[in-house]
């Protein structure tokens, strides 16, 4: 139930948003993240957007770990 599914916001309505999950579109609740815009990556949980998903942060995480792994002398 805590399964969060990543998707792309394609349309925004007043209280809801249409999110595309790799081809399957669903209307989901956006009350918890009201400022989502079309094009945003989001995590949807039990029919509601609970968070945005940042591509920049994902890239930063990967780059940071590459450096750590290189520097980690064991």
């Amino acid at each position: 139930m805590c399964l969060g599914i990543p998707g792309v916001v394609v349309e925004v309505k007043e209280l809801t948003a249409i999110v595309d999950f790799g081809g399957v579109k669903r209307e989901v609740d956006k009350l918890l993240v009201p400022d989502v815009k079309p094009g945003d990556y989001v995590i949807v949980h039990a029919g509601a957007i609970i968070s945005k998903l940042s591509r920049e942060e994902a890239e930063k995480t990967i780059e940071a770990w590459k450096e750590v792994l290189e520097a980690l002398k064991v």
Binding site: C2, L3, V8, L32, P38, I43, A46, L69, L72
Partner: protein, 394 residues
């Protein structure tokens, strides 16, 4: 405004692929094997025990066979991470009673549908004529109730921090119709982790914190782990690389002797969390002592509707009476499995009388139940043996 999602899908797939990337994963696993002996020396024990507290982490670990990549003396333990598994029997019994003997439509998440109650599951109650429907989320429940204004609907509200605000927001904003009542059985993960850490027989060396619960609570919710228990804690995502990096970071902290919180899942989670969601939950609910199926009553571990919103509570409308509920069926080890004291293969019923098609205990039902995950994807050493045969051991 609409956008074309074609290119965006590719972007999303790229993000997911980044955290399944084999080169980085292989490199991280090598470092884990190098750091593990150093960490062992530091803790002066014979095994490093790392617990995660999320059913989806157990899914990632078992589905991708990550335990087979770990050193012999490093154990990944599944902790309390399945809200369906610990939802009290009484709540299921009350739901069945409502569906069978009252003029109501019961709305439930699919995960709860086959969980055994004292005498039957909701699925069995439906076959006896109970008006029970599966919904994906509270939005569906609102739609169904609004479409049938003359009929009372009851939403079975189970879940951890991720699900709670989806209901709280609508209650606070006044968008819940008067013919939709709520049977609240929400539980909080932080008190459960406290409980596990105070058990004498499960000494732990690190915690992998749940990435999606943390989207709501913020990483700050886990600061008690290094502060009170001196435990390394890593908030992690749900791709294989996320979990591997979390293990590596925990080992690094053990070796350095500096436990702290590390947010590996910064692409989704922040330190403060979803403040809007937190406000809604605080406004709608009070924190109360609550029963966890197979475990007992944990202090300040559940939610109930505040007095000002009590009119949404199903108990304000119906005086539902059920005979004394049976917590777990005799011999079922779901409670121990939930606390990380046992693994599914320790249970005499696992894959014998208890299977995903005919679950005997609650841990065998939800896709987040450790028993169900092991049953579907093969936990308990088989993967390890297979990995050895295939020469996949790093």
């Amino acid at each position: 405004m609409r956008v074309n999602s074609g290119n965006l899908h590719e972007g999303l797939r790229k993000i997911i692929r980044m955290f399944r990337e084999s080169e980085l994963l292989r490199e991280a696993v090598k470092k884990i094997h190098k750091l593990a002996p150093l960490a062992l020396r530091k803790i002066d024990g014979d095994k490093i025990k790392i617990m995660h507290v999320c059913g989806t982490h157990e899914h990632t670990i078992t589905y991708y066979g990550l335990r087979s990549l770990m050193p012999e003396n490093l154990e990944l333990i599944a902790g309390p991470g399945c809200p369906v598994c610990i939802a009290p029997t009484k709540v299921i019994d009350e739901s069945i009673e409502l569906a069978l003997n009252y003029e109501v439509t019961l709305l439930t998440y699919g995960d709860m549908y086959k969980v055994p109650g004292t005498s039957m599951s909701l699925a069995e109650a439906r076959s006896l004529g109970g008006d029970i429907r599966i919904v994906y989320g509270f939005l569906d429940a609102l739609r169904i109730a609004k479409r049938n204004p003359k009929r009372t609907h009851v939403f079975l509200a189970v879940g951890f921090e991720t699900t709670q605000p989806t209901v709280a927001s609508h209650i606070v904003l006044g968008t819940v119709p008067s013919n939709l009542k709520i049977l609240v059985a929400y539980r909080l993960t932080v008190p459960a982790v406290h409980y596990v850490l105070n058990q004498p027989d499960i000494p732990l060396n690190g915690i992998i914190a749940p990435g999606h619960v943390t989207a709501i609570t913020g990483a700050k919710a886990w600061k008690f782990l290094p502060e009170e228990y001196e435990l390394p804690a890593v908030v992690a995502g749900f791709e294989p690389l996320d979990v591997i990096l979390a293990v590596l970071e925990i080992l690094r902290q053990i070796v350095e002797g500096k436990p702290r919180i590390f947010n590996e899942y910064s692409r989704v989670d922040s330190w403060e969390g979803n403040i809007i969601a937190q406000k809604y939950v605080k406004e709608a609910f009070d924190v109360v002592d609550a029963h966890w199926r197979g475990i007992g009553v944990l202090p300040k571990s559940g939610l109930e509707l505040k007095d000002s919103y009590r009119n949404f509570d199903v108990h304000s409308e119906y005086d539902v009476k059920v005979p004394k509920s049976i917590d777990l069926p005799p011999g079922c080890r779901c409670g121990d499995v939930t606390l990380g004291k046992a693994v599914p293969t320790d249970c005499p019923f696992f894959m014998k009388t208890c299977t995903p098609n005919t679950p005997y205990g609650p841990c065998m039902v939800s896709s987040e139940g450790t028993c169900a995950v092991w049953a579907k994807f093969g936990g308990g050493g088989k993967i390890k043996e297979l990995a050895k045969i295939l020469g996949l051991k790093p």
